[in-house]
């Protein structure tokens, strides 16, 4: 495939929106949160990029990136072990910035030299709180066709409760667009408007040269935020275009939404619309197939390889290596990798993190509106 290269490089911000899900990121970051039985959120973005011929991808991490490094390794599973480009993990530079960067401008300023040395014409930037199987090729096509300086992907949807309830001073912001045709006329920061909105996906496309120039200027002025300090004040000078994304999107804005978005994968329609376009790659664990032993009763379940099921499981997502022992009952749960539910235990509306053990006969119950989260390595 000689035409496979998209002439774009990818920049991913794996810590963005960490503050939405404090429990889930206590030992990791947004990008490495497990999703849909065997993936991490970052897999979707990386695979989408790779499937569109983007093979030079940088991840600018802030903190808690150990689990992400462990997950990505050399990037082999995403076909990103390249001599040119490939996977490039950028941790904060301790000597240079004593405090870790704030906002995209500082983060990008720390890799300006790298950006200058690259060959790709375009840069695609993205956060990682969205789970999408994104077609970046059509984003690039739309950008070229419209002659835009910056193209911003958005969805049409009402603001969720989580966003409406967010405090004004919150660290992580969200944005909506006001459009004239496809041209962006205004960007609203943390709006509280009801009804359908043009909600930003925080996926941006622009030319590398333009990005370098804008970041240099903004950094000198002491600005931090790409949207607020670069895009918003320049809407008249720059041709900023909106790109409506109509594919499947799972947006993580809270622990509750994390639970709900996982549960939505139990509906085959959702599963197919997220996964059918292009393959999603992830780290391989070499588990054996999942084993159902006599006594197992399963109904409406998604389970990865390596599980051993001897009890009852209903409406649940099981990650790799989960064990449900005899007489245990699991209903409406998201059980991450290697969770063990011992004999006779009962779980309802639970999110268990990796390596949780629920001991014999224990009963833990959350509710639909408030699923209970059990932290990593916990024995209850």
């Amino acid at each position: 495939m000689i035409n496979s290269n998209a002439d774009a490089l990818g920049i991913i911000f794996p810590n963005s929106y960490d503050s939405f899900v404090p429990e889930l990121v206590s030992e990791r970051l947004m990008a490495s949160i497990p999703f849909a039985s065997r993936y991490r959120i970052v897999d979707f973005l990386l695979s989408s990029m790779v499937n569109c011929g983007i093979d030079n991808i940088s991840l600018i991490v802030r903190k808690n990136y150990h689990s992400l490094m462990d997950h990505l390794g050399s990037g082999r599973e995403w076909d990103l072990t390249r001599k040119k480009g490939g996977l490039n993990m950028v941790p904060p530079f301790a000597e240079k910035n004593v405090k870790v960067y704030n906002g995209r401008v500082e983060a990008l300023a720390s890799i300006l030299r790298f950006l200058k040395a690259q060959k790709e014409k375009y840069v695609i930037m993205s956060d990682t709180n969205l789970i999408v199987n994104f077609d970046f090729k059509s984003l690039i096509d739309a950008h070229v066709e419209s002659g835009a300086d910056i193209t911003i992907a958005y969805t049409k949807e009402p603001l969720s409760r989580d966003l409406l309830d967010m405090e004004v001073g919150a660290k992580d912001m969200y944005y909506t667009l006001e459009l004239d045709g496809t041209r962006v006329r205004e960007i609203h920061l943390n709006p509280k408007t009801s009804g359908e909105q043009n909600l930003l996906m925080n996926i941006y496309l622009l030319e590398r040269e333009l990005l370098i120039q804008q970041i240099r200027e903004a950094y000198v002025k002491g600005h931090s935020y790409f949207e607020r300090d670069i895009v918003m004040p320049n809407l008249n000078k720059l041709n900023v275009q909106g790109y409506l994304y109509e594919g499947y999107v799972a947006r993580i804005t809270s622990v509750k939404s994390y639970f709900d978005e996982n549960m939505k994968m139990l509906d085959e329609k959702n599963l197919d619309s997220l996964f059918s376009a292009n393959p999603i790659y992830t780290k391989i664990r070499d588990d054996n197939p999942t084993r159902y032993i006599n006594g197992a009763k399963v109904k409406n379940v998604m389970a990865a390889d390596g599980c051993i099921i001897e009890g009852e499981v209903e409406n649940s997502i099981l990650f790799r290596g989960v064990k449900v022992e005899k007489g245990a009952k699991v209903k409406n749960c998201v059980l991450m990798q290697d969770t063990v539910v011992e004999a006779g235990a009962r779980l309802e509306y639970i999110i268990s993190d990796k390596n949780v053990t629920v001991t014999v006969g224990q009963e833990i119950t959350g509710t639909d509106t408030f699923p209970v989260y059990v932290e990593k390595h916990k024995r209850v």
Binding site: R38, P289, A296
Partner: protein, 401 residues
């Protein structure tokens, strides 16, 4: 840098007794146990035993196998020095030859082995399901001061005449070799796994090649020649799980044994001895609201709406509502249509079984057999495939085979 021991894996077998399953691929590439292929077992054994250089001798239908092995990365055999190498017969300045026999296949690759200057060479076979630590075997070989060792299994005396048998003294030294004898003097069956001192193997391969009457086979020629010369030959007793899956019924049986690791001894859930394979990359499997799954193994990418009992579903199998599957081995990508009844059989990859079709049957009275459907076959709605059938062509709606 010299390697202490490298492995040569014989994977050229046509597997003609697997009929429909080996029309398009070599026996070692036949899928097994939900997400593996047979060759994953010897390859994983090598890596788990610390062997990092493996030559795979291929000949028959090598395409699937070549693609599957690739650069050897899934088995951690993508190495700077060593790693896995597929070795098909090739054209040399002096002419070219197919591999005439197992010994000849190794003979033609003497130069490959010499690149690693090994002290020992282990010869493996690509048609067995077995978890074995080859480093234990090598330790035995060294302790005995052997020039040649063969791994053997004790088999029931009444079955002994089906095997190549090693007669050994109380010190495990081999005194006689009997190939499928009518009157066995031993019940130690050869597993077809040998360790040779490389200088000995090399000498006998060259000598064998010069003998125009030889069949160039380890069992028929090399081992008898070693015995003739009173070489130091030892039998290494192995007592773990071992199964030659050369026939439909043994392949089916071995798959069923995977479902019962507590009693059968073949445990794929062994963290200390993982079997590696190339990954399908599919999502977790889906079990629908009305599905029933009993005592089965289900792999990534499956979608189950029907009833699955005591069966193995490989990656990406779809079981539509009302379908019934029992004692069956269903390989990757196959679709079992609504209301179909699939029992006591092996269905290969990417088969489409039409609505209400019947494939195989549970054994009853005189009717006993493992129905087999080859890959990519389409079985029409309402068609019936008998318990002894071997199907490798499409079957029309309502047709009986």
């Amino acid at each position: 840098m010299a390697k202490e021991m490298i492995a040569m894996l014989l994977a050229g077998g046509q597997g003609s007794r697997l009929y429909a399953l080996t029309q398009k691929l070599a026996k070692p590439a036949v899928p097994f146990g939900g997400k593996y292929r047979i060759i994953d077992f010897p390859l994983s054994n090598c890596v788990n035993s610390g062997i990092d250089t493996v030559g795979i001798l291929t000949q028959y239908q090598p395409m699937v196998l070549n693609e599957y092995i690739g650069n050897g990365q899934p088995w951690d055999l993508d190495r700077l020095h060593g790693g896995v190498h597929v070795l098909p017969p090739y054209q040399k300045a002096t002419g070219s030859d197919w591999y005439k026999g197992t010994a000849n296949a190794i003979y033609q690759n003497i130069s490959f082995i010499e690149r690693y200057d090994p002290e020992y060479v282990i010869i493996l076979s690509g048609d067995q399901i077995c978890k074995q630590d080859y480093s234990d075997f090598l330790r035995f070989h060294k302790e005995k001061g052997a020039e040649f060792s063969v791994a053997v299994m004790e088999v029931p005396w009444e079955e002994a005449p089906r095997f190549g048998l090693m007669v050994a003294d109380e010190n495990d030294k081999i005194t006689e070799f009997q190939e499928k004898p009518k009157e066995p003097k031993s019940n130690l069956a050869s597993m077809g796994i040998y360790i040779f001192n490389w200088d000995i193997l090399r000498k006998y391969l060259i000598e064998d090649e010069e003998d125009p009457t030889s069949e160039n086979d380890f069992g028929k020629n090399i081992i008898p020649n070693l015995l003739r010369d009173n070489r130091d030959m030892y039998a290494y007793r192995f007592d773990g799980y071992w199964k030659d899956v050369g026939t439909i019924s043994s392949l089916w049986e071995a798959n069923m044994e995977v479902l019962d690791p507590e009693n059968s001894g073949i445990n794929l859930f062994d963290e200390d001895w993982r079997i590696y394979s190339r990954n399908s990359g599919m999502t977790g499997h889906r079990v629908g609201a009305n599905a029933v799954i009993e005592n089965s193994m289900i792999t990534d990418g499956c979608r189950v709406e029907g009833h699955v009992k005591h069966s193995i579903l490989f990656a990406g199998v779809r079981v539509e509502p009302g379908a019934e599957i029992e004692d069956a081995v269903i390989m990757g990508g196959t679709v079992v249509g609504a209301g179909a009844v699939v029992k006591h059989c092996i269905v290969a990859e990417n088969v489409v079984i039409g609505k209400n079709a019947i494939v195989g049957a549970m054994p009853s009275g005189g009717q006993k057999g493992v129905a087999t459907v080859g890959s990519d076959v389409v079985i029409g709605a309402g068609a019936k495939i008998g318990p002894k059938a071997m199907v490798s062509k499409d079957v029309k709606d309502g047709e009986e085979v």
